[in-house]
Amino acid sequence: MKWRCALIQRWLPAYPDGDLSPFWRGMVRSHLEKCPACREELAGLEAVVMNLKAAPRPEPDQAFWDNFNRELHLKLARSVQSVPEPPPSRFYKIPYLLGAPALAGLLLWVAFGYLNPERPGMPPQPQMSQEQKALEKTPAAPRLAAPAPAPEKSEAVMMVSQNGHEMHGEDDLDLDGDLDSTLAGMTETERETFLKKVRQHEKDGSCTRESLAVCWA
């Protein structure tokens, strides 16, 4: 058998019904015109189809169908009594309708609270005093580089603003000033003097850096 015949004979059973695509129908038709072997194969297939169609179908008489319907009716009637009611669809259940959004909301709340440390549901962190915050901002290098000298007893501590008014440490609690920016605006001499005073008063506990910086400014 040639390869072309093998290819054509794959589609031969569908050819008589016209179920092939136009391309394959044309191919099969043109091949059948010049190939007696494929024509013979087609005739054999058509004979099988004719034989199948002519085969006696099982056609029982009316008594058979009466008996069939009677038996089936009894079985169906029994099954009607025993068939349970179908369970309601889950989409109609209120818990199902409420459960999914509630679960989604809970997951969102947990995820949001986990990612955001300042979440409202958590206990508040202990508030650091603004003085301590400001102290943390100050660079540690000057303090480490220059150890605190001995207190100078002769210098009197006097917090005076630039306009000459005397101030106390307790009065200037509103400290928005930055120590670094204050130091940056000073000359070298002023800075040393300022730092000396700061160290002195830190030891005494009479004044904080910030209040002094503000007073100095």
Partner: protein, 196 residues
């Protein structure tokens, strides 16, 4: 009353409506089952089982396909299960139980009976799925698209299956005499060799 109306009433539990559908399709389902199992009594039982299954599950039928196609699918599944449980493909078929009408002479009648005997013997050797394809295509007149909905797969696969089934059936019918002579003395061994 049309099929969708009857199905809708049957879905509400209307037994007479369902029995109307049974009467409409029982012959087709019985013919299909008979072609698949090649046994009249088993075909009757399988037909009843198919209708029972259809009635139990008719609430799940969403009318996206034809009711007839859905029924064919149920019946074919029933037949597959039966064939799987039976462990072997059919008992010998006695085609003499059906009276052939329209034969002109006793000689022609004998020839026709011999043809049918060979046909049934060849059908018995055919795989169940190919038998189903041939029956649905030639006897029930379904298109390849409808066959694919009944048996699964695509329309192209159904056409290839049909072509293969017809060629195999032709081959079996040509070799049927040799096959029968060979099968009788050594049934198991020869069957295994011949199916390779």
């Amino acid at each position: 009353m049309t099929d969708p109306q009857l199905v809708a009433r049957a879905q509400e539990g209307d037994l007479p409506a369902f029995e109307e559908l049974v009467k409409k399709y029982q012959r087709e389902i019985y013919g299909l089952a008979y072609r698949l199992v090649l046994d009249a009594e088993e075909a009757k039982d399988l037909t009843q089982q198919a209708f029972m299954q259809a009635f139990v599950h008719i609430r799940g039928f969403r009318q996206q396909a034809q009711f007839r196609t859905w029924l064919f699918r149920i019946a074919i599944n029933q037949c597959y299960n039966y064939l799987k449980n039976r462990k072997k493909f059919g008992d010998p078929v006695d085609c003499d139980e059906y009276v052939l009408v329209g034969e002109d002479s006793p000689e022609e009648e004998l020839v026709a009976q011999e043809d049918h005997r060979r046909l049934y013997a060849a059908l018995e050797r055919l795989p169940a799925k190919q038998r189903a394809v041939i029956t649905l295509k030639l006897e029930q007149g379904l298109s390849y698209e409808e066959i694919s909905k009944v048996l699964g797969g695509t329309a192209g696969a159904a056409r290839v299956n049909y072509c293969q089934a017809l060629k195999t059936l032709k081959k079996y019918m040509q070799n049927e005499d040799d096959y029968e002579v060979a099968v009788r003395p050594y049934p198991k061994m020869v069957t295994r060799v011949s199916r390779r």
